[in-house]
């Protein structure tokens, strides 16, 4: 760890302690614990969404706004199958498969046609795709109160006075597991090596004979599975409403920014911090009304801080 990194970590810890201390000042420890634990629970959802985006962005250069919509389509399918009395594990699998199919369809057939455009245009094009999916999903399932319940919702443990269900633990540990798994995949496998090379320089990688299409398809596949899993978790833990799940991508991007669209461990930490600060803001009478703003402010600060001192004079590729 270099000196700067150490300094950054120290700064992060000091800032978090300061913010949490300020917000929690004078409140009973039990209440602080409640909001802290609840914040970790929400934060791990932000992180999970962000991780899925970063995995794909690194390999393909596409920031995918449609992952939320794919997850929503999957979750609605799972709900419908459950209503028809299908065996629950099959409905969960269906959720992941639907999201996978939607994401792969975009990655395989539409994304290559935009390969030469700038990253921003690639990103906004996925919003068009998200609208198509969201429109179809809302058309197929008219507005009605719905919910998905997983068996793990009934089991739980106590943490800081808050009961944490096993589902939330799954989300939390899955995000850590995915971070480690992806790291290992990128570091140890041939495809991982090729992905890293694509992320570094597309044109050079193509010259070197790296099978871009294959590598990218795998990346889209991984992100599709993650989108499906995230959608199922959002549906269970947040709300089974397609619009809400679709637009969860915006705070998820905030988490992704904390890792500079690159470092998965930082995405996780960023997502968790956002959740915690957002929840702790409830303790401040002045700020609680606007607490969902926390992810955006944090992401903007992180982005600006990480670029401090740089002057984009001779910057090459973006």
């Amino acid at each position: 760890m270099t000196r700067t990194q150490l300094w950054n970590w120290a700064l992060y810890i000091a800032l978090m302690a300061l913010i949490l201390g300020w917000l929690g000042w004078g409140k009973p420890f039990k209440i602080q614990g409640l909001f802290l634990a609840s914040g970790l629970a929400v934060g791990s959802l932000y992180a999970l969404g962000g991780i899925g985006m970063v995995v794909l962005f690194r390999a393909s250069g596409v920031l995918n706004f449609s992952s939320g919509a794919a997850g929503a389509a999957g979750a609605m399918t799972a709900w419908q199958l459950a209503e028809w009395g299908v065996w629950p594990p099959a409905t969960w699998l269906a959720c992941i498969l639907v999201a996978l199919a939607i994401t792969l369809a975009y990655g395989r057939f539409l994304a290559p046609r935009l390969a030469w455009r700038e990253p921003v245009v690639k990103a906004v094009a996925t919003l068009g795709f998200a609208l198509i999916i969201l429109g179809l999903v809302s058309f197929l399932w008219i507005d009605d109160p719905r919910s998905i319940t997983l068996p793990t919702d009934k089991m739980g443990i106590k943490f800081l006075g808050l009961r944490i269900t096993v589902t939330r633990l799954i989300v939390f540990f899955a995000s850590i597991g995915i971070v480690i798994g992806i790291w290992a995949f990128l570091a140890k496998t041939a495809i991982g090596l090729q992905m890293r090379s694509l992320a570094n320089d597309r044109d050079l990688s193509a010259l070197l004979g790296i099978p871009i299409l294959k590598v990218e398809t795998i990346a889209w596949g991984i992100s599709g599975v993650l989108a499906g899993f995230t959608g199922l978790m959002f549906a269970d833990l947040i709300r089974l409403e397609p619009t809400v799940i679709t637009f969860m991508v915006i705070p998820s991007i905030a988490a992704a920014i904390c890792g500079r669209l690159d470092n998965l461990a930082l995405v996780l930490i960023g997502g968790l911090s956002m959740g915690v600060i957002e929840n702790m803001l409830t303790l401040s009478n002045a700020l609680k009304g606007a607490r969902p703003i926390a992810p955006f402010v944090i992401a903007a600060v992180v982005l600006l801080y990480s670029q401090r001192g740089t002057r984009l004079t001779f910057g090459g590729r973006e």
Partner: protein, 339 residues
């Protein structure tokens, strides 16, 4: 001076279009379509800001609709707090939003490309929450000025009390906005922007104050957003936070790309797709969900097939029909009048 005032063919077409809108549309359209066209004109002005930043400087702002909200908020706040005339409120709303644009420019000095876009998206996300939490002033007490019950009265400009006159007023302002950009493009800032777009290093070595001109661009985009938001507030008499979601800002940028950010016609097409198409689909009784699908599919199709935007395609088509092959490089075509 002659160079500054020279009217290109495209520019002439643009002015003719504005004149047609000004003179003919209020005579032809009913109240429904006047209301649609007024809001389309407002969004065209906001869109021209995004389009010009993208086409001239390669900078992507995903906050434009959020900034419109800022302008609209200031307009409503002033309208309900003081008895000042509409025009003064409009100017203040534009200037306040310009300052917001400058604030947004701070990161732009260090960031570019996707990262700049993302930091503006975060700003849009933040504004969305602010608007949703505090709402738009409607005549209540206090700083936020929100009350329950019916909204207070909105004073339209003395010149434009009726819907027809207000539409003409908007068209005149939008035309002025387009001309503002075009004059900038033809003067020193335009040359500086062209250099910055090519290479900041080259611009800097040529003695261009990169910081100043980038900030300036954000200020203009902010001004246009602020004025258009204030005009939108005047069109409805009140605003709702649903209009200013972060996803709407992304959509406006996407449509600027689809329409063709380099051309005035592109901006008009973008605004048409943004406001007239949904109104048409709604009027035809197309299911709201399905019009999402049509809209998304159209967006994707245009982004994929028309790299220069629909306006660019139309221009090529026109040139082919007139059989006058363009010798200009795509980068410097002179006939791309107002961005």
């Amino acid at each position: 001076m002659t160079r500054l005032l020279r009217v290109t063919p495209s520019g002439a077409a643009g002015l003719a279009f504005a004149a047609f809108a000004f003179l003919a549309i209020p005579l032809l359209a009913g109240k429904l379509w006047l209301s649609v066209f007024t809001s389309t004109a407002c969004f065209a002005m906001a869109c021209s800001g995004v389009a010009f930043m993208y086409a001239r400087l390669g900078m992507v702002s995903l906050t434009q609709v959020g900034l419109m909200g800022v302008g609209g908020w200031v307009m409503l706040r002033l309208n309900h707090a003081y008895a000042l005339p509409f025009e003064i409120n409009l100017i203040v709303a534009g200037l306040v939003t310009m300052v917001f644009g400058w604030l947004l420019a701070l990161p732009a000095l260090r960031l570019r490309g996707l990262y700049l876009a993302l930091v503006t998206l975060m700003a849009a996300g933040g504004l969305e929450i602010i608007f949703a939490t505090f709402q738009f002033p409607n005549g209540g007490e206090g700083f936020w000025g929100v009350k329950t019950g019916s909204a207070g009265a909105f004073r339209r400009p003395a010149l434009a009390q009726s819907a027809e006159a207000y539409f003409r007023y908007t068209v005149a302002l939008v035309t002025a906005g387009f001309l503002l950009i075009e004059f900038h493009r033809r003067l020193k800032p335009g040359r500086a922007w062209a250099l910055i777009r090519r290479s900041e290093a080259a611009a800097m070595s040529a003695g261009v104050n990169v910081t100043l001109y980038k900030t300036w661009a954000f200020g203009i985009a902010g001004l246009l957003a602020g004025v258009s938001g204030a005009m939108l507030a005047g069109s409805l008499g009140l605003l709702d936070d649903a209009t200013f979601r972060a996803s709407e800002s992304i959509m406006l940028f996407a449509l600027a790309v689809v329409g063709g950010a380099r051309y005035w016609l592109g901006v008009v097409i973008a605004a048409t797709l943004y406001r007239i198409l949904p109104a048409l689909l709604n009027n035809w009784g197309v299911d709201a969900d399905l019009s999402f699908v049509i809209f998304g599919a159209g967006l994707l199709h245009a982004v994929i097939t028309a790299p220069d935007g629909i306006a660019g395609q139309l221009g090529d088509l026109l040139r082919r029909v007139v059989r006058r092959p363009s010798k200009d490089t795509p980068e410097d075509r002179p006939k791309d009048a107002p961005a």
